[in-house]
């Protein structure tokens, strides 16, 4: 809420600039910024139209003479339809600056001299929706006589300096001028002074025009009304109007304006109804019946049409029989609105439960000044006084003949909160050592009544600070008024703790480092994906987890694999000519046990490569990535897992979006830990990516297996002996099974088997391939003899012949 300095001065002395105030208030209480209205505007004065005649060459222009407080009246040509003699108007003199860089110069309009411009409010910076309806399509006419030549911005309040408070939800007490004065006053050690409102007692009668019944007492702690009779509805005085448009509220008439004014003054929304339009003199506050209709005055888009709102039973309404007067705390209805013809009115001052108001306002898209206040709470100690104030203002401006007593639908006693605390504990929590005098002084500045008994302090909190309830609240008040800038930083003392990552996080950090070391860039993708993406690589067969109310279909399902994200990254990059991609991600996937709502969050690590692994250069030829490149990455990664197991690569054609002939499931000790493979060509096309190879591994599983203790062994000092083996075998036999068989039969000194040749084609038997292996034997404790090696080598060959029907070449 924007706090006008001029208004604030009624309550506390103000000697600082708005910049200083905004800074100080930001540091002690509420984030604030300074506002200077009317900046850059000048030469705007009040003028009095002393004559008017039609322009001889125009059917809509008039020629006026205007007294602008100078020796001679000036002639101004005016095209506004509402211009008339004897009006007090806004005049932009020759040389005046208007908003958006507009400048007024004297000149001739259709041959007639014009020495300035008579302005509408919208032309000098008031947004048109806050301009009183009568002046929205023409010039503004002051409602009272003002000395010609007076600064028009001053007269209209449009050069007011303001402090804009950007409140947090707990500080709604400053959504009224009184609360704001308390807050700013506490900052500057100034107690605000307020005048108690009063009603002309001679007009007060004991009325029984109305009866009130509150059905949902727990949702409506306070509901008070008064009626006023024989009022004259008309325009509000200027002082009130200008305060309203400065609050972005459109002045309407002297009843509605008074209600809005009190809302700004006290933070208490007031509702006004035309008493004679009530179909039933019995007002009820009740839940709406499903399907009941209601027309509001608040129109979000189109000012011409009334919004027809369909209510449901969660809505709380103020009704006269079947007639809906208003959506409680949100908006008044059109049915009983106060118009210029209204004679008798009802003023309502009530408190509605915040969440009901909040939900109704959200549901019907009708959030406004009133609902904003009820949502966050209002001071229930000021409900009655605010009603008195509204009544007083209406009476002053619209002159009632009769004012009713306060009619109480329901009233809840406003009890101040009493908080007990200890000076020592308050100091302890702040990390300060203030004296009890200093602390008591701060409570006094805030207008809290505090009593001290040794270390114990009892603080009585006025109802206007309903955010306060516990000792910690006292701590906040003391430290912020004392000033956070005076607090010296320390570090927590106390017992030493040893910090660190969890073992699993250490493990995944290590895996990430291995991939970084292999030149892969790390990416971060979204966990939420569309249905198709969630299905594309659901290799583990996860039960899907989806959002109840997604914002878009693109972010609806929790991911079951990291691959779709990586494919998107390749696609995005390759579309931008970043063709050679090597990326990985370490993150969670979500798998739900059937029948449970909550998914398991499983850590995975996945990578993707695409494009060239080597580029054409002056000394190298380019090479496209292939399966064995990605497999090499995976093998190196797995070699760092500290897992004492053989990793086996089982060819699989079961993963639908991977190439059926270039994909392997990775098995460790009979357990699947992930896969490695090429994207299916169709999938590549669909996603506009070049040939890409991917892998994905379950980090949780790997971490569970990583138990190998490393026991140092001296590097062998005895020489090794090697043998080469060339075989011819059916092309469908996998090298992996041959290597496995070689190890099974190579004896305890066989330490390594490398494949050095794979050949298929010319000079080879059809459906066969030639494989070349290099076997290394070593005895760490002794020199091996050729005999021992030969024996083992023979065993290897014999087994291969027998099991795989190989030809030894």
């Amino acid at each position: 809420m924007k706090i006008s300095v001029n208004w604030l001065k009624e309550y506390i002395p103000v000697t600082h600039t708005v910049e200083e105030m905004a800074n100080k208030v930001s540091l002690t209480g509420i984030e604030s910024s300074p506002v200077h209205n009317g900046e850059g505007l000048d030469k705007l004065v009040v003028g009095h139209i002393t004559s008017i005649k039609s322009h001889p060459d125009s059917d809509h222009l008039n020629i006026t003479t205007v007294d602008v407080g100078e020796d001679e009246d000036i002639q101004i040509v005016c095209g506004a339809p509402n211009v008339a003699n004897d009006q007090y108007v806004i005049v932009a003199l020759h040389g005046a600056h208007l908003p958006e860089g507009k400048r007024i110069k004297r000149g001739k309009i259709r041959g007639q001299e014009s020495n300035g411009m008579i302005c509408g409010l919208d032309e000098i910076g008031v947004p048109v929706k806050y301009v009183p309806a009568a002046y929205q399509n023409g010039i503004y006419v002051f409602p009272e006589n003002i000395t010609p030549g007076t600064d028009a911005l001053e007269a209209l309040g449009l050069n007011d300096d303001m402090v804009d408070l950007d409140i947090t939800p707990n500080r709604a007490d400053t959504l009224g001028m009184h609360g704001a004065a308390w807050e700013i006053g506490a900052t500057y050690d100034e107690k605000p002074k307020f005048t108690k409102p009063s009603i002309d007692e001679s007009k007060v009668v004991d009325s029984n025009d109305l009866s009130v019944n509150i059905e949902n007492k727990e949702l409506v702690p306070d509901f008070l009304v008064r009626t006023l009779k024989n009022i004259t509805v008309g325009e509000s005085p200027l002082w009130m109007q200008r305060r309203l448009w400065n609050q972005n509220i459109q002045p309407v008439n002297n009843v509605i304006d008074a209600a809005n004014y009190v809302m700004i003054e006290y933070g208490q929304p007031i509702q006004a109804y035309d008493l004679d339009k009530l179909q039933d003199k019995h007002i009820t506050v009740r839940n709406a019946r499903s399907g009941e209709k209601f027309s509001t005055e608040l129109n979000n888009e189109d000012d011409e049409e009334n919004t027809n709102t369909i209510l449901n039973q969660n809505d709380l309404v103020v009704a006269a029989g079947d007639q809906i007067l208003g959506l409680a705390g949100v908006a008044g209805g059109i049915d009983a609105r106060v118009t210029n013809e209204t004679k008798n009115i009802v003023l309502e001052s009530a408190v509605y439960e915040g969440s009901v108001v909040r939900k109704a306002a959200q549901r019907h898209d009708l959030r406004g000044d009133a609902s904003n206040r009820f949502e966050k709470g209002v001071d229930n100690g000021a409900v009655s006084e605010a009603l008195v104030r509204a009544t007083q203002l209406v009476d002053e401006n619209a002159h009632a003949s009769e004012i009713s007593d306060e009619l109480v639908g329901i009233e809840t006693e406003a009890k101040p909160t009493v908080i007990k605390g200890k000076i020592s504990h308050i100091n302890h929590l702040m990390g300060l050592e203030l004296s009890s005098e200093e602390i008591m002084n701060i409570f006094d500045r805030l207008g809290f009544n505090a009593e001290l008994d040794n270390d114990d302090v009892t603080v009585t909190i006025p109802t206007r600070r309903w955010d306060m309830s516990i000792e910690a609240d006292l701590v906040e008040e003391v430290i912020r008024i004392y000033g956070y800038e005076n607090l010296k930083g320390t570090l927590p003392t106390g017992m030493e703790t040893s910090g660190g990552y969890s073992p699993k996080r250490e493990f995944s950090n290590k895996l990430r480092n291995v991939l970084l070391g292999q030149g892969m860039n790390e990416v971060i993708n979204f966990s939420l994906m569309n249905k198709k993406e969630a299905e594309d690589f659901n290799i583990i067969g996860a039960n899907y987890t989806k959002l109840l109310h997604p914002m878009t279909e693109d972010h609806e399902y929790l991911r079951t694999s990291l691959i779709p994200g990586l494919v998107n990254n390749i696609s995005y990059n390759q579309a931008r000519n970043n063709n050679d991609i090597s990326i990985f991600e370490q993150a969670r996937i979500f798998d739900r046990t059937e029948g449970l709502d909550r998914p398991d969050e499983i850590e995975y690590i996945a990578g993707a490569i695409s494009g060239n692994i080597a580029l054409d250069s002056w000394n190298t030829e380019s090479k496209k990535v292939d399966f064995y490149d990605v497999k090499g990455i995976v093998e190196e990664l797995l070699s760092f897992t500290n897992i004492d197991a053989n990793f086996e690569y089982h060819a699989t054609n079961k993963i639908s979006n991977l190439h059926p002939g270039q994909t392997a499931e990775i098995i460790a000790d009979g357990q699947s830990i992930g896969f490695v493979g090429k994207l299916h060509p169709d999938y590549q096309n669909e996603h506009n990516v070049d040939e890409a190879f991917v892998f994905e591994l379950n980090v949780d599983t790997l971490f569970g297996m990583a138990k190998k203790n490393v026991q140092a062994k001296t590097a062998p000092k005895y020489p090794s002996i090697s043998r080469d083996l060339a075989i011819l075998v059916n092309k469908d036999i996998e090298s992996g099974s041959i290597v496995k068989d070689i190890f099974n039969n190579g004896g305890k000194y066989l330490i390594d088997v490398n494949i050095f040749d794979v050949y298929q084609g010319v000079n080879i038997k059809p459906n066969h391939k030639s494989l070349g292996y290099h076997l290394v034997f070593q005895n760490p404790e002794d020199t091996l003899t050729d005999d021992t090696v030969e024996k083992a080598f023979d065993g290897v060959k014999a087994s291969l012949v027998q099991k795989f029907n190989v030809e030894i070449r």
Partner: protein
């Protein structure tokens, strides 16, 4: 000619031959021819039998010296020739060092992870555990236990992705506070933990919003922690991240789970507080929210709030990285354009 003279002649011609040699092979041949068993020196020494006995030792010494001298001459020449060969080879092998290298890349950690890990390591050094928590969380821990009951207006500040009525994508890493507090054994010392991770909000993605982003929550609960400790801790953090000269300031704020609550500003690292575009000419940049743990939050975890107190803070790695590196669009972090990613090589 006397044997003596013969040997001297051989020496002279041998040394001369060695000096004149142009190739290693010539020297090797010379060595074999002159000094070998069939060489002229050996041959000449066969005439020793004609030499009187008393002169023999002298001749013998001379013969040895002749051999040694020739050998030395050959070796000297050999070395000279070798030097020439090496020099020639080196010259032949000279390359253009300005030609491009064979690429040998190390990958780049994602800048968000670099930012997070930099902060994690800072806190690990202060004795904090790192506890990542759950991305799918119960309403209970994400809201209720943080003093945000149903219908609390603060729930408006963060619209939530729900999975069921009870389960949601956590909107804040503060959701881990309740779990950390209730599982901590205070007899073993204070609770000091940071919870980094991914959080989710119902926001449309734009330059400053992302429906998924990261947070790091920090929490210390002990018998003696205060607002002053919070200020000192965050001062040290901001100096670690933004530079040793940084100052911080606290402004009152509101979070349901802390009381008092503060926003924390750091003095602008760009202008040093003078005022510039980055700090919107205020000299200060808002970087995180913090406060003392609300007594209700402690009590809900069974911690006596009259004995224990807590400091809690939450910061956004995206915001830190955007400020520190001048990233203008939060979406850049999630597009993973490799040109964007690779510019952050070696910043942390």
């Amino acid at each position: 000619m006397s044997l003596n003279d013969k040997l001297k002649d051989l020496r002279a011609s041998g040394i001369d031959d060695a000096k004149r040699a142009e190739r290693i092979q010539e020297l090797n041949d010379l060595r074999v021819n002159l000094l070998g068993k069939k060489g002229p020196i050996t041959k000449a020494l066969r005439g020793m039998k004609d030499v009187p006995v008393e002169e023999r030792p002298e001749i013998g010494t001379l013969a040895n010296n002749v051999k040694k001298d020739i050998q030395a001459a050959i070796e000297e020449k050999m070395e000279e020739l070798n030097r020439k060969i090496v020099a020639k080879k080196l010259e032949e092998e000279t390359i253009d060092v300005t030609l491009p290298a064979q690429p040998n890349k190390y990958g780049t950690r994602h800048i968000l992870n670099q930012t997070i890990e930099d902060i994690e390591e800072f806190f690990i050094g202060l004795g904090y555990r790192v506890d990542a928590g759950h991305e799918v969380e119960e309403d209970h821990y994400n809201f209720e236990r943080l003093n945000i009951p149903q219908n609390h207006p603060a729930r408006d500040m963060q619209d939530t992705f729900y999975l069921t009525d009870e389960l949601l994508m956590r909107t804040q890493t503060s959701a881990q506070e309740g779990r950390d507090m209730e599982s901590h054994d205070f007899s073993k010392g204070p609770l000091k933990v940071i919870s980094p991770g991914v959080v989710y909000r119902r926001d449309d993605d734009d330059a400053t919003h992302s429906h998924q982003f990261h947070q790091i929550e920090g929490l210390v609960v002990d018998k003696n922690v205060s607002m002053a400790d919070l200020k000192g801790t965050l001062e040290a953090l901001c100096r670690h991240v933004f530079g040793a000269d940084r100052e911080i300031r606290f402004r009152p704020s509101y979070f349901p789970f802390t009381e008092p609550s503060v926003e924390v500003d750091v003095s602008c690292f760009n202008c040093g507080g003078e005022g510039c575009r980055i700090c919107k000419y205020t000299g200060w940049i808002e970087v995180l929210g913090a406060g003392l743990s609300h007594p209700n939050v402690l009590e809900m975890s069974g911690i006596d709030s009259t004995v224990y107190s807590g400091i809690a803070f939450g910061l956004g790695p995206e915001r830190f990285a955007m400020l520190k590196y001048g990233v203008n669009d939060i979406r850049d972090f999630y597009l993973n354009d490799v040109r964007f990613l690779e510019q952050f090589k070696g910043v942390n």
